[in-house]
Amino acid sequence: MSALTYKSPGSLDEAVNMLVAASGDAKLLAGGTDLLVQLRMGMIHPKMIIDIKKIPELTGIKEENGSYRIGASVSGAVLGEHAGMVGAWPGVVEALELIGSSQIQGRATMGGNLCNASPAADAVPAMIAADAVCTIAGPNGQREARVEDIVTGPGKTSLADGEMVVDFVFPARPACSGDAYLRFIPRTEMDIAVVGAGVSLTLDNAGVCTAARVALGAVAATQLVLEDGAAALIGSTLDGAAMEKLDAAARAACRPINDKRGTIEYRTKVAGVLTRRAAKIAQQRAEG
């Protein structure tokens, strides 16, 4: 029988202390949409569950000179209602909102989606494309890390023992910027991504791309940052030739597996298709 305990700390320090004391036998509970499934399936056997939804630093959305600081426990539903974030980072918001159903959205969080570290996580490619930075609290104080450096493998993160993500900072947007996230699933909802593509870009007055970040999900053990993809976009007007290069870059970068959700061949092909389409949507948003 499990000797499970449930804790609900009211402060960040309390939470970190509990995590440290548990020496790796604790799991953080934000939305619970991954954690409870894993508990039920017997995939994990923690001794302690630390509910982090009552910690003020993790539950707010703050605008700071055009940048947004979003607590790690903010749910997709709450984020989707925030006009500022929706206006500045529609791709990030739509990525988080694609996870599961309306019910899942009532609970699921960016913090959970990132730290659960599924290769197919929906929010992560968009967060990487946005070059989001997370604040991490631990026994030695707080530090920052780029989101793209957090996931190190399926179910694995670069967080040290006793560390937890506090919030995410999305930088202020230059004018004429847009982002988008697309995923491919066999139905229209409720599936895990077969491929996910996040693109964020900035255009100049002539419609030439001056900055871009491209990230892929579900096609490798971790999310992929597509340097060649960004290079294909920067300096272009996202014309046919640039789209072909982007498609090729996406396909070349893929290292997917065959599993019940997709084959190597299929994922590779669709990665190219989605990256192109996401780039086009980001472009429309940047122009609009």
Partner: protein
């Protein structure tokens, strides 16, 4: 293993219960509180039959620990009718035959109510996407979607 004592509000009623740490809110509703209207269709958040609202938010109760109910307000299907008056959605589902076996119906009603509170004038597409997390195997969804759209129109008309 000690049980957790939880103080919460369910359908407007102050409620206390004891639960084990790993028991989900769905387990608690059904086994401890005898509120069996919320159903377990999958236990993994894929079917929506266990839908409830927590502080007004639509969630799957199978993906929430009973312990997390502390200090929040939970609404279940048992609280949807007002005394002996059915909610317009409940009435509409009956009139429009929007249920066959009825096992998914509580979940759909809770989810649809949540939608109309947020968006009183949803399009068919919006209704379908909002309800995508509620599975139904009997109806093919047609009459459910029609009932929700018609009820939304009725409710807008009534409040106009």
């Amino acid at each position: 293993m000690a049980k957790i004592h939880v103080t919460t509000t369910i359908n407007g009623e102050p409620t206390e219960f004891l639960c084990e740490p790993q028991q989900t809110m769905l387990d608690v509703l059904r086994d401890e509180l005898r509120l069996t209207g919320s159903k377990e269709g999958c236990g993994t958040g894929d079917c929506g039959a266990c839908s409830v609202t927590v502080d007004g938010r639509l969630v799957c109760s199978c993906l929430m620990l009973g312990a997390e109910a502390e200090g929040v307000e939970v609404e279940t299907i048992e609280g949807m009718a007002d005394g002996d008056t059915l909610h317009p959605l409940q009435q509409k589902f009956l009139e429009r035959a929007a249920l066959q076996c009825g096992i998914c119906t509580p979940g759909f009603l809770i989810a649809a109510k949540s939608l109309l509170e947020k968006n009183p004038d949803p399009s068919e597409t919006e209704v379908r996407y909002w309800l995508a997390g509620n599975l139904c195997r009997c109806t093919g969804y047609d009459k459910i979607i029609r009932a929700v759209l018609e009820c939304a129109a009725d409710m807008r008309g009534a409040s106009a």
